[in-house]
């Protein structure tokens, strides 16, 4: 009897062990390998996505650097254009001021010459008027003062000069 029970227990044990082994093999065949495969595939996808993400990140960084560089160049270019524009505007302003000053000086000179001429003309006119007045006064005085003897003297002097 004890041998039988022991043998039954052993058998059960063996059967259980075989069941476990069989179960293990079944699970391994049906579950482990597909799951493993699934996990490997997922890991590969993740790795791929990670790789692509890193590439994209690197590309983005490269773009950022490129745009940063372009931005700096454009800023420098803008500053340079502003400096040149400022320089050109200053030069133009100086030219305009110089031209305006020259026109002003020319106008002043012209006006001064005009005033000088007008002054001279006025003085000449006044001088002529004074001469006219003086001669007019002389005529009036002479008309009153010239006598017969004065006329005789004029006639005498004329014919004396003519006759030598």
């Amino acid at each position: 009897m004890e041998g039988f029970v022991l043998s039954q227990a052993a058998t059960d044990l063996i059967i259980n062990i075989l069941n476990i082994i069989l179960l293990f093999l079944i699970v391994r065949a049906l579950v482990y390998k597909p799951v493993r495969k699934f996990l490997d595939q997922r890991a590969a996808r993740v790795e791929s996505i990670k790789s692509e993400a890193e590439k994209a990140l690197q590309k983005a960084k490269d773009q950022e650097e490129k745009y940063q560089k372009l931005s700096e160049e454009n800023t420098e270019r803008c500053n340079q254009l502003l400096r040149e524009a400022d320089k050109t505007a200053s030069k133009k302003a100086e030219e305009i001021i110089a031209e305006a000053k020259k026109q002003g000086d020319d106008y002043l000179k012209e006006q001064r010459e005009k005033i000088a001429h007008e002054h001279e003309d006025m003085l000449t006119s006044m001088q002529d008027e004074i001469v006219d007045m003086a001669v007019g006064i002389s005529e009036q005085i002479l008309k009153r003062e010239v006598s017969e003897s004065d006329n005789e003297k004029i006639v005498r002097e004329y014919f004396a000069a003519k006759n030598g």
Binding site: E148, I154, Y158
Partner: protein, 72 residues
């Protein structure tokens, strides 16, 4: 006969006119005829018109010359 027109002030006497005529008679050998003209604007002296040739010995002419000289 040469004609001479003598222009004088109206206040000048006939004696003065005659002296002028005598002066021209001494100058020109030919026979002369004289005409007297009066000019109220004449101050003194005389103007003789010897057939187109004008001899101006008037004070008016002297004053005009003096005026021109002063204005230059």
């Amino acid at each position: 006969m040469r004609k001479i027109k003598i222009t004088l002030s109206p206040s000048c006497s006939d004696e003065l006119f005659q002296k002028i005529c005598n002066g021209f008679k001494r100058q020109y050998p030919e026979e002369l005829s004289f005409i007297r003209a009066n000019d109220t604007q004449m101050i003194g002296g005389f103007i003789a018109d010897v057939e187109g040739e004008i001899i101006d010995v008037s004070l008016n002419a002297q004053l005009a010359r003096m005026k021109d000289h002063l204005k230059k």
